[in-house]
Amino acid sequence: MAAAGKIDPMHQFTVEPLVPLHIGPYDISFTTSSLWLLIALVVIYGFMALGMKQQLVPGRWQVAVEGLTGFIDDMVKVNVGPEGKKYVPYIFSLFCFILVSNLLGLLPLAIVGIHPFTTTSHFSITGILAVVSFSIVLIVGFWRHGLHFFSLFVPHGTPKVMIPLIAAIEFISFMVRPFSLGLRLFVAMIAGHILMEVFGSFIVSGFSGGPVGWGVGLLSFAFIVGVAALELLVCAIQAYVFALLTTLYLNDAINLH
């Protein structure tokens, strides 16, 4: 393997401190990750603020904002029912944050020298989001139903003999939820970015390798255009799936089953 052309697809996920800050043994530096989290906040806030003028005849921007809020509102209403109204703000923030951070990480700003950092490509971020969702489900469930919440593990109409087995399986599937929720988003993001990095490097090393190399470079270029389009779709789907699954888990906690 040639040492000069070695591809390092994992380098893009390095968290680098911008403003080093240490308190005692803790490292709380302002990192690239924090910077892009802040940018996501500014983008979401700006998008919402521009469309919240509440005009009687909405402009284009207001229609966009209303479309987004209406989409989440509908999703919660269909899946949870009228009881879910209280949780719309949480689901909405979750969806917006994941969607915007996913899309920010895909921006081709490297052309002008800025390297976007995908905050959702770190398990520390997605894991925390998943744990927050899971905690809300637990708190709501025990708040509303008390110990009756455990009937979640025994679906209606289970034969008496099967109850221990079914309860064990349901318990495992319940406890796996936060992991699968966080892992799905994190791995989907990391896989897409590695794929794009690898094929991007194929273009660069292909064009310094004679006629055959040019062919490889052109093929990789055509491929990467398709992958970029697919990645945009994956960004939206992952945000949607995360919000949808959180809604469904909330539905379990609110209405049992």
């Binding site: 994992m10 892992l183 791995v187 896989a191 799936v241 469904l248």
Partner: protein, 75 residues
């Protein structure tokens, strides 16, 4: 066989699981489309379930990918 080559072969074998997940995802969307064309009126109401099925099938492929990465970058 030295450690580095075993590592690369292992990561390649682990990547087979991603292909299996591709079959699963294709199956989810294919079956949805098939039944949606039979009864287009009911298709919209099942979109949520479509994405749950997609998410479940995809997760297993992504886990295969994560395993491949863990093997590839193991020291």
């Amino acid at each position: 066989m030295d450690f580095a080559s075993a590592q690369v072969i292992g990561a390649g074998l682990a990547a087979i699981g991603v292909g299996a997940a591709a079959v699963g995802v294709g199956n989810v969307f294919g079956s949805f489309l098939e039944s949606a064309l039979r009864n287009p009126a009911a298709a919209d109401s099942q979109q949520g379930r479509l994405f749950i099925g997609f998410a479940a099938a995809e997760l297993l492929g992504l886990i295969a990918f994560a395993v491949a990465m863990i093997i590839l970058y193991a020291r």
